[in-house]
Amino acid sequence: MSQHTDRILSVLEPPPGGLARLRSRRDSLARRAPPWWALAAGAATAVVWMAVLSGHTEIRMQLTGARLVGERSQGVGVQMLEGGRAVPLSSDAANVRVYWVERADSTRSSGQ
């Protein structure tokens, strides 16, 4: 330490056993912390699960509607698919068919 002053600040001794306590604290922290890959896997699983839950119904409804329109355009009669249903709506054009596609358990009234 500095030796070129008349010391105002005396040199204090730290409490004994510091290194042992430090090692113990370091080791206890290491035991408690989960490995990084476990944290990453948990986060990824949560993200995927939330995406599945929120997007499942929408994806199925979109697929159902697309299929109905695609089949109808090819002259195929519309059929209910995968738990959904197509409710025919009125159309001003003779060569245009309009369908309301919804889930089979939906309580919403058609044509609204």
């Binding site: 002053t5 105002i8 040199v11 204090l12 510091g18 290194l19 306590r21 370091r26």
Partner: protein, 173 residues
């Protein structure tokens, strides 16, 4: 063989053994509590341990000083609130007094020095403590604190003058 990057456990422990006393002395003059000063020191070395793969052994000293300085500053703010609520712990690191009078005199000296240190602005305190305890050159201190070299010497001298004035019972101008 010396690795370019990374600090081994043995190097980390050797660093602690070498720097424990000077770092403790710096931390103590911020928090004025022996246990808290050691906590600051250990917090810093836990950080060093967490970053050991990214450290370079030749600059680990400087990293330790910067970390302890920053943690001490933060802890000081918290310690001031605790002291207001719970009072102070007595200094435990002095040698056992031989008489009650010596104990009281030492306690008074400690209290006076502490009061004087508390009057120092942070920019003077940090330079003074690094100059007194770190064995770093003024060049190293100037790099560590990002201040000009001449400023290190002037702040240290000013800090010592203010401390002496406070301890002699005069208020600095």
């Amino acid at each position: 063989m010396t690795r370019a990057l990374g600090v081994s456990e043995a190097e980390w422990e050797a660093l602690y053994r070498r720097l424990e006393k000077p770092l403790y002395n710096l931390a103590y003059r911020y928090v004025w509590n022996s246990q808290e000063a050691q906590d600051v020191l250990h917090d810093a070395f836990i950080e060093l341990w967490a970053r050991r793969d990214r450290l370079i052994a030749s600059t680990a000293d400087r990293y330790a000083w910067v970390t302890v300085l920053n943690l001490s500053r933060k802890r000081r703010r918290w310690s001031r609130a605790k002291r207001f609520l719970y009072g102070d712990d007595p200094l435990v690191s002095l040698a056992a007094p031989t008489t009650l009078e010596a104990d009281a005199a030492r306690a008074q000296e400690h209290a006076s020095l502490r009061a004087a240190m508390e009057q120092l602005p942070e920019k003077l305190r940090s330079v003074l403590l690094l100059a007194e305890f770190s064995e770093m050159s003024y060049e190293s201190i100037s790099e560590l604190l990002s201040i000009p070299l001449g400023t290190v010497a002037s702040r240290r001298n000013l800090a010592l003058r203010q401390l002496r004035s406070e301890l002699n019972g005069e208020h600095s101008a």
